[in-house]
């Protein structure tokens, strides 16, 4: 299997970043419901979908719909082939050695729960430790709390600095004799901080501790290469990387997945079933009980194909420009403070204003057609650590424009006139 970088080289000539053309690929961005342009800055919550993804889902239901892995008729065989083709695409996209290392789930959350219950739970004894960080999304906290409750293991939390960066020395100090697993996010959903995952994985591996990487936020922005990261598990969600909702990816090293018992039982994950006992199907079917989200997986395949057709280096440079411009304009507004000022960030600007609560700001911005998130971003412990009850968050994708950053700043200025 090739690495992600290798795959990019093997693709047909890349399109230069033509923002107008790229935006035209996303029908919702041109929507004028309510008679005004939509400025969508909530990409960390979910991304918009290009027409190729919407078409792939529709075409499947119009011309390809059948259940997978069951029928011997041609329609079912071609549905299975399309579904499995996406698995091969994903394996290549993330640098997995084989498609057997790619499990489709409902989302990042389900992928993490699968590892907690199938990998961690049977291995944990009272007093063992799971190490996470203080910047995790609730979905990378609560599954570990559940498994700790089931086993008597203890959750340890690596600290973050006031700037919203991981305290690497603090992280390493918590890697101890009893650490059985590290679970950490590559990018903070609330702040945009990029963690030095390769170095953190190496530190954990030096002590023989496997690592799960939550790539839900990084997948749409950074090249994913599980070989370069060195991680043992990686989880991400289709809907944040321009694919349909309801599909997630769990990558796991083949030897680890092989040794894990199934998590959910049902159809499609068995070899033989009798009332006395059942035997499990081989990877990855062992972890895909029941009829999967077939159209969603096929739509994800279209999304990955779309991403690979773009010059991701150019996209990243454009996103950096968006981040710089937004940081500059937002921090100039009176009484506004940006929360999360790490030097390595994706294009997320989370902020508080001393003259307005985030909910009021989001309501006023929405009046100008600007969609931002206000609240704790499913990261309540991080908010508590940083001493803010909530923030307003503008999160960008490559299809956003510098003009939209200006629109955000203008709307914040008029919110200031109204609410301050």
């Amino acid at each position: 299997m090739t690495t992600a970088a290798h795959t990019l080289q093997a693709m047909p000539p890349l399109r230069a970043l033509d923002l107008t053309a790229v935006r035209a690929d996303f029908p919702l961005l041109a929507d004028r419901a309510g008679g005004r342009a939509l400025v969508y800055l909530d990409n960390a919550a979910t991304s918009q979908k290009p027409r190729v993804v919407i078409d792939a889902v529709r075409t499947f239901y119009e011309h390809g719909n059948a259940n997978v892995h069951r029928g011997v008729y041609r329609l079912s065989e071609s549905a299975s082939a399309a579904y499995e083709h996406t698995r091969v695409q994903i394996a290549s996209f993330i640098g997995a050695r084989t498609a057997r290392e790619v499990v489709f789930t409902r989302g990042t959350t389900e992928a993490i729960n699968l590892v907690a219950q199938s990998y961690a739970r049977p291995r944990l004894a009272p007093g063992d430790e799971i190490l996470i960080t203080a910047m995790e999304h609730h979905s990378n906290i609560v599954p570990w709390q559940l498994v700790c409750g089931q086993t008597g293991a203890v959750l340890r939390v690596a600290p973050v600095t006031d700037a919203g960066e991981l305290d690497v020395a603090g992280f390493e100090a918590l890697l101890g004799e009893r650490t059985r697993l590290v679970a950490l996010t590559q990018v903070s959903n609330a702040l945009g901080t990029i963690n030095p995952v390769t170095a953190l994985v190496a530190a954990a591996h030096a002590r023989g501790v496997p690592v799960l990487v939550d790539a839900a936020q990084s997948a749409p922005h950074l090249p994913l290469d599980v070989q370069a990261l060195g991680c043992d598990f990686l989880a991400c969600s289709s809907h944040k990387m321009f694919g349909p909702t309801g599909v997630g990816i769990l990558y796991g090293r083949e030897a680890l997945l092989d040794a894990m018992p199934p998590w959910q039982g049902g159809g499609d994950m068995i070899d033989t079933v009798t009332f006395e006992e059942s035997t499990w199907a081989d990877l990855p079917a062992k972890f895909e009980a029941g009829t999967p989200n077939i159209s969603g997986v096929i739509g994800l395949g279209a999304a990955v194909h779309y991403l690979e057709s773009l010059d991701r280096g150019a996209l990243a440079a454009h996103e950096d420009a968006l981040l710089k411009h937004a940081t500059d304009l937002v921090s100039r507004i009176a009484g506004v403070r940006i929360v999360g000022t790490a030097p390595e960030k994706i294009a997320v600007v989370s902020f508080v204003a001393d003259w307005a609560h985030p909910h009021d700001l989001a309501t006023v911005l929405d009046d100008g057609g600007i969609c931002v998130r206000a609240g704790h971003h499913c990261a309540q412990p991080l908010m508590r650590r940083l001493g803010v009850p909530a923030t307003t968050r503008a999160s960008f994708a490559f299809y956003n424009t510098l003009d939209e950053v200006d629109a955000l700043a203008d709307a914040l200025a008029s919110a200031h006139r109204m609410l301050a």
């Binding site: 307005a356 609560h357 985030p358 909910h359 009021d360 309501t363 006023v364 009046d367 206000a374 609240g375 704790h376 309540q380 908010m383 009850p389 909530a390 008029s414 109204m418 609410l419």
Partner: protein
């Protein structure tokens, strides 16, 4: 700015947000309750003093958005001097106003400024947070038989998560 937005942030609401009334503890409260909005982290504590069936003092503390602060502030003014049952009946009418199933705004006095909330379903919880806490505080606040009853106050903290 749309008319919906100016209806929502009327000057009375902005004024009560900037300078909330009855923003304090009541040390000899007969009841208090905390209200939390888990989706945004807003938190309010409402204190009531119930003397022989009449709410002689009502106050609040906490942090939240303009709508929730102004609502708490105006609520304390509106229910002070009312009986417990009158206060609960007022909550019913207020809820009907903000949740949009057609309360008569004229019967609500100053609280009518919250009629704009109904155009913003996501903000209904903000407007009703303090009222939910008030209801819990009243359950926690049996009327004192004598206004000068000096029994120690058993301040059970009740929780009224807005739903």
């Amino acid at each position: 700015m749309s008319s919906e937005l100016s209806e929502l942030y009327q000057s009375v609401i902005l004024d009560h947000n900037r300078a909330p009334r009855n923003y304090r503890r009541i040390d000899d409260a007969s009841g208090s309750a905390r209200g939390r909005n888990p989706s945004c982290g807003d938190e309010v504590v409402v204190f009531v003093r119930n003397d022989a069936g009449v709410l002689t003092d009502v106050s609040f503390e906490g942090s939240g958005c303009a709508i929730s602060r102004a609502s708490a502030s105006l609520m304390t003014q509106s229910v002070k001097g009312k009986t417990r049952d009158e206060a609960l009946a007022l909550f019913e009418r207020f809820h009907a106003l903000v949740a949009g199933d057609g309360a008569d705004a004229r019967s609500l006095g100053k609280l009518a400024v919250f009629s704009g909330v109904r155009a913003f379903p996501a903000r209904v919880k903000c407007a009703s947070l303090a009222w939910h806490a008030l209801r819990s505080a009243l359950e926690d606040a049996p009327a004192r038989r004598h206004p000068d009853d000096s029994r120690p106050n058993s301040e059970t903290k009740r929780s009224a998560d807005a739903v």
